[in-house]
Symmetry: C2
Subunit: 393 residues, 2 copies
């Protein structure tokens, strides 16, 4: 089957009322997607394994120095159909075509479904690849909690997995290359009239939790001048983050916020918000976050509130292996572009030569139901992946 046909099989899994997808790690939708992946592996004559972190790996051949392909099947809440599944479906389609052609690889090849790339459930992005590479300590990861207060260890146990097996994975340590195909996020390829590009780098990025505290009170009976309202400090911080990110050509987003007590006729006592910040360089990112924190603290002093800031996860700049990316760009005659989005490939790049292929996104929209690519461009992505596999394996 082609990648478009494989993706069509997933159209109903984890669908939301807005037409998007909510597929959070270990939820019923991703469990169904795991079953689908297992069935595809068996149908393609691949040997399915799963490591102690929940990453599924489907093998063509065995041993070390393997070429790894893949991506992830989870999504952000109300995300699109392609962020993740496009890479998994394209890898399965490429392997299927090469097998049908009777081509024989000179090294083992594996297709990986990494668990919890989006970090939407436990707050840390690329959790499966971080565990497999040792980029996060398993004790720390297993203690992370979801919105319902359940730890990763509890959730894995409820799904029949033994959390004591979580941690660095031998299959990954012994691999030779990792190549991840992914939908482009942004519109860099669209005006360049190229269906496929090669990634140069991933910007450094991270997530910070901001707790704004004040004094809860009555919304009608408390004079404006007598208030210690953390919503005001929060609002000033949102606007400061945008202003500073504009100034420095960087990115700052607050897309998640919780209000206590969250009552229409009460001044809030606490606002918790999560800042996603990215920049072209690590010093640039440090300056951006420091600037936002400074502005938040100034606003807090003005409002008689407090703000507490903690980093929840940070990822340094990733420069993909220059030799490999030049080789693939030449092979595919493809443009080379950076990205502000994080990927499992960014985590694996610290361990082995890693490359990414991006498939053109006509609108640039991602992490939203409108996320899309043309069927022709999806086929072009599979064609490119077939060439890459022939080149590297």
């Amino acid at each position: 089957m082609g990648a478009n046909e494989l993706l069509a099989e997933l159209a109903d899994i984890g669908r939301t009322s807005s037409g998007g997808y909510s597929r959070l790690s270990w939820d019923p939708a991703t469990m169904e997607l795991r079953e689908w992946f297992a069935a595809q592996a068996v149908a393609a004559g691949l040997e399915l394994t799963e490591d102690g972190n929940g990453n599924q790996v489907a093998w063509w051949g065995q041993g070390s120095d393997a070429l790894l392909l893949g991506s992830h099947l989870d999504s952000v809440p109300d995300g699109g159909p392609l962020d993740g599944p496009l890479g998994v479906a394209s890898a399965l389609a490429a392997i299927g075509r090469l097998k049908a052609e009777g081509w024989k690889p000179s090294r083992p090849i594996a297709v990986v479904n990494f668990t919890d790339e989006e970090g939407a459930r436990f707050g840390v992005a690329c959790l499966g690849s971080r565990l497999a590479t040792g980029a996060i300590a398993s004790d720390h990861a297993l203690g992370l909690t979801d919105a319902a207060g359940h730890t990763l260890a509890e959730v894995m146990r409820a799904r029949g997995r033994d959390p004591r097996l979580a941690g660095p994975s031998e299959w990954l340590a012994a691999a030779k290359y990792y190549v991840e195909l992914h939908l482009e996020q942004g519109r860099w390829l669209a005006p360049h009239d190229a269906p496929v590009g090669v990634a140069s780098a991933i910007w450094p990025h991270g997530r910070w939790r901001l707790d704004f505290c004040g004094q809860g009170n009555h919304a009608g009976a408390t004079a404006m001048v007598d208030r210690y309202d953390p919503m005001l400090t929060y609002a000033a911080t949102v606007l400061a983050a945008r202003e500073l990110a504009l100034d420095f050509g960087q990115r700052a987003t607050i897309g998640r916020v919780q209000v206590e007590p969250g009552s229409t006729n009460s001044i809030p006592s606490r606002i918790t918000a999560w800042l996603d910040a990215r920049a072209e360089s690590e010093p640039g990112l440090d300056a951006l976050v420091a600037g936002i924190v400074e502005r938040a603290e100034t606003a807090a002093r003005d409002d008689g509130t407090t703000v507490d800031v903690r980093a929840e996860s940070t990822t340094g700049a990733v420069d993909f292996d220059p030799q490999l990316r030049h080789r693939l760009a030449a092979l595919l005659d493809a443009p080379v572009l950076p990205t502000g989005a994080g990927h499992d490939a960014g985590i694996l790049a610290a361990k082995l030569p890693t490359a990414m292929l991006f498939v053109r996104n006509p609108t640039g929209i991602s992490h939203a139901p409108q996320e899309s690519a043309s069927a022709e461009d999806i086929d072009a992505g599979v064609d490119a992946l077939v060439q890459v596999v022939r080149e590297l394996a």
Copy 2:
């Protein structure tokens, strides 16, 4: 029992981890409070009735031209112990004392526990008194939904009530006076060194729902200049609301907000926020809300987003019956003060002569766990209520 003792019996019902109270209409905590009220009525020799709206009414004597006392037992999320229960407990204590003294009323007296004064569950404040007076149509009220998507009709049915009985109440239409004792919200009495005051008026107030819509997208891959982020429009509106309310000596609060999809690494597609606004006069309130909406619309144009504003509930200015309030202020030698807080008494004032007594609040804090009054002031409130009952019944 005195009011302090009665309130102590409620200390564990609906308690939150922060030491406050969450008692939303028809939830397990308010069901327990209903049982408590019923038991107190029986113990005091009162006849308990319940109208089709869930308002509990405990009678001393029967017939028309009754003096109604009471308040409510529900709370805002994570509210304090006194907003509502102080008035119910004080009324029960006053009746208990008068009965013990052998005093006989010349007209029927009833203690009322109004359902859902705070509007924390279905979004409309004073729902029980609005239904009982006909201020809200029962069809409209029964279709209101809570956070779980259940309608009031469904919730009442699940508690064994027949929603077809909801609507204007005969017992209320036939009554002569309503007097509600309530904790002061604000610090007007504290510097005046008076334990009890009489209300002059309730400011006009209301709740408006604001829906800010933009384009969801990827937080890392979308350049700041390519965004249509409704969080920015929301933040600008929060700050504009504060600024305009300061300018005009009025009140504007946003204490409840929902973000879709609410993901750390996604630009939001929609923000829904609830504005609570109050002012000394109706033209002042209209101008305040119009000003906030205008600023929100200007920000939306700048941000490439949209904002839609709908009034969810509004209450006009309430000037309590002048004759009755002068009579009670003279009787109690008590100061007279206005309030920015809404009350069931504000709804009933449109139907019958109504008065409110406020008990001093040393910090002014309300709708928060720190809400308090001294035991002495609570006793002084019951003393005042006893005098009022002797005067009016």
